[in-house]
């Protein structure tokens, strides 16, 4: 009863602000409604990023984009600061799953975790009769995949999850189910006695890393007063129905359509009770189509190329490699390549583009510009860069608000932005000349003092040969 009164209050406050009901105009407004609802009622926070005059909390915003974009997000933070719950709320509202089902499909990280608990197990009844059949876990079946404390899992189990999520295939006993739609949220505590490391190739598969931060003493105090607020996203009847479908022995494709029906009913319930419109499957597909159609403008493209060049270039050894060290007195000492150990992977530009598309879409911009890229770069880069020890020791005591890896990535993005500002026109010109030469024009590539000019030449030489 208390829950319903609380819901009415939320709905009333939202109607007062004119938020409820505007979702009909566009999916972006609907997405912002979800953002505001979570931000104001479920996950107390302080905004920590600004783009185009709008201030956002990075944990909610990036989780929202992860859910909408079918991305993979690593949420780090101190214990009890809402890493898992923020992901649960976002998933519940984007995918229309009651919280009870999400909880029942989460994989929790501990050393004893097994493939049988994560992916599926043999149907023991059938096995007794000499038949092989698989009982799939809820985790492998539903599109919302949350792994709690992934760094408590042994590395082999981490790898198993990320392999499955990378391809969308879950295999057990020669049987397979394919997820058409899925997103992954994994949480990780800072290193302590019970954690394993997340190895570099696995970390690279996460599109973004974000910190779930302490909201401050005053908001934290309010959280303590508002007990069991998550009950608004629960619905025992629909939860039971969904469990029944997930347990049933019908074909996976049929299960999915049945699950969608129940989820849609839960979505209607959410709208009636809370005034928040969640997304149906066709809405999500259309949103992804809209996001996918957004292209980078020239500045965004040139800036991203400049960043990638700095993160992968080595004049002496052809490219960055984690096993090779920079040469003394290298001409490119002032660039990021001199500060890092590893090379940017091919997943990095995909992640940057994917999240920049999401950000541009939610801000209702017609193309991805440099501001969108600059906003997402620190979160796509923070977990992927391996900094040299001297850089870490130089900067670890710097005054900052962000966790160290995100702080370093923000500093790196700032440095590249500065360099881009200084030579953006010339750089775009160099790329334009590159295009003309590539198409057979008798021109000389432009010279410049940045790894990207060398990369352009390399591409043109490769074309000639």
């Amino acid at each position: 009863m208390d829950d319903f009164r609380w819901c009415d209050e939320i709905k009333f406050r939202r109607r007062e602000k004119g938020i409820v009901g505007v979702g009909k105009n566009g999916y972006q407004k609907q997405a912002m409604e979800i953002y505001q609802f979570i931000s104001e009622h479920l996950y107390f926070n302080r905004p920590d990023m600004e783009i185009k005059g709008e201030r956002f909390n990075s944990a909610i915003l990036l989780s929202l984009l992860t859910g909408l974009e079918k991305g993979k997000e690593l949420i780090i933070g101190e214990p009890g600061l809402g890493k898992t719950t923020s992901a649960e709320y976002v998933c519940s509202l984007i995918y229309q799953f009651p919280l009870g089902v999400i909880w029942g499909s989460e994989v929790s990280g501990h050393p004893e975790q097994t493939e049988e608990k994560i992916i599926g197990r043999p149907d023991l009844g059938k096995l007794n009769r000499g038949e092989e059949d698989v009982v799939w876990t809820n985790f492998s079946q539903i599109p919302v995949k949350i792994v709690d404390e992934i760094n408590r899992l042994p590395e082999t189990k981490q790898s198993m999850i990320l392999d499955g999520v990378d391809r969308g295939n879950w295999e057990y006993l020669n049987e397979m189910i394919i997820n058409d739609e899925y997103c992954l949220f994994a949480t990780a505590n800072y290193q302590d006695g019970g954690t394993n490391t997340i190895i570099a190739p696995l970390v690279d598969r996460f599109d973004v890393m974000v910190e779930s931060r302490y909201p401050g003493a005053n908001l934290s105090f309010l959280i303590g007063k508002d007990k069991r607020k998550d009950h608004v996203l629960r619905h025992p009847k629909y939860e039971k129905e969904l469990y029944t479908i997930l347990k049933s022995k019908i074909a996976y494709e049929k299960k999915i359509s049945k699950i969608e029906e129940v989820c849609n009913s839960f979505g209607e319930y959410l709208y009636e009770v809370l005034g928040v419109r969640s997304f149906q499957r066709q809405d999500r597909d259309q949103i992804r189509g809209e996001m996918g159609s957004l292209e980078l403008d020239l500045d965004a493209s040139a800036f991203t190329r400049m960043l990638l060049a700095e993160l992968s270039f080595c004049e002496r050894y052809g490219q960055k490699r984690v096993v090779e060290n920079c040469e003394e007195g290298c001409h490119y000492t002032g660039y990021l390549c001199h500060q890092i150990k590893n090379c940017a992977s091919n997943r990095l530009p995909s992640s940057i583009k994917q999240y920049a598309q999401g950000l541009a879409w939610i801000l209702e911009d017609s193309a991805i510009d440099i501001e969108h890229i600059q906003a997402v770069v620190p979160f796509t880069l923070g977990h992927r860069i391996q900094w040299k020890d001297e850089i870490l020791s130089q900067k670890e005591r710097s005054k900052r608000d962000d966790p160290f890896p995100i702080f370093l990535a923000k500093e790196a993005a700032k440095a590249v932005s500065q360099r881009y500002r200084e030579q953006s026109e010339y750089l775009k010109d160099a790329l334009a000349v590159g295009s003309k030469i590539f198409q057979g024009g008798a021109l000389e590539p432009l010279e410049g003092d940045h790894p990207l000019y060398v990369e352009i030449k390399k591409d043109l030489d490769a074309r000639k040969s």
Partner: protein, 254 residues
Amino acid sequence: MKPSPLQKKGSILPPDKESWIIKNPFEEFKTFTASTPGLPLDQIVQSTEAIMDRIRWGYEKLLEEEAKELVWMVQYNTIIKAYEVAEKYVKEIDYTAEDIEEFCFALENTQKIPYLIPGPAGVYISALCNYAGEEEIILKLSELKTEINLIGFRLPKGKRLLIEGDTGDFTGIGIEGGELVVEGNAKNWTGAGMRGGKILIKKNIGLHTGEWMMGGEIYVGGRVRGLGNIVEGKVYERDKLVYPGKVRYPNLYY
């Protein structure tokens, strides 16, 4: 059908798979044309050159108007007239002390300025110094082969002009309250007709020092070769007051 250049004989690519052909990685930039050419450094160089062109143009005009036969007699009225012409052009230019120094070197080193006539050049440089925005101007002229005459002409009150190197004749004449410091030597007629202010010559000074000076002070770190007919003011040689004084007579060699 003619095969495309990329589909060589024996290529493994199917003939109709356009998307398999190597993509131009710079495709999106093919229509880009740079809106502002050059790097910021180029822009700085360009704007400096534009200022230098204007300073040079003013000097050429001064020569055209005041030194038509490439001869310039130093007479009081010619100096005043030349200064008025120089003032006219200098007032319209937005420049800094660095531009003045650069102009001094351009006088000697480039082909763009046809003649270095020390008199008009000095008047023009003096006008540039007097109308510069900075209160203190430092001109590093020690590398200059020619000693420029008339530097510091009519230096107004509140201005300080420091010359690194030697200066020619008529240094600091008609100073109107400013402070002129020469790190090297100065030639004859230094401080002639000065009305106030201070001239400090760190090394030696020539003949006719302070001729018809009406006020102010001249300090000389080295030797004073000869004093002029001084009306009023003070001249010091190595901290010792030599005018007014008993032992020194105008234009006496000693």
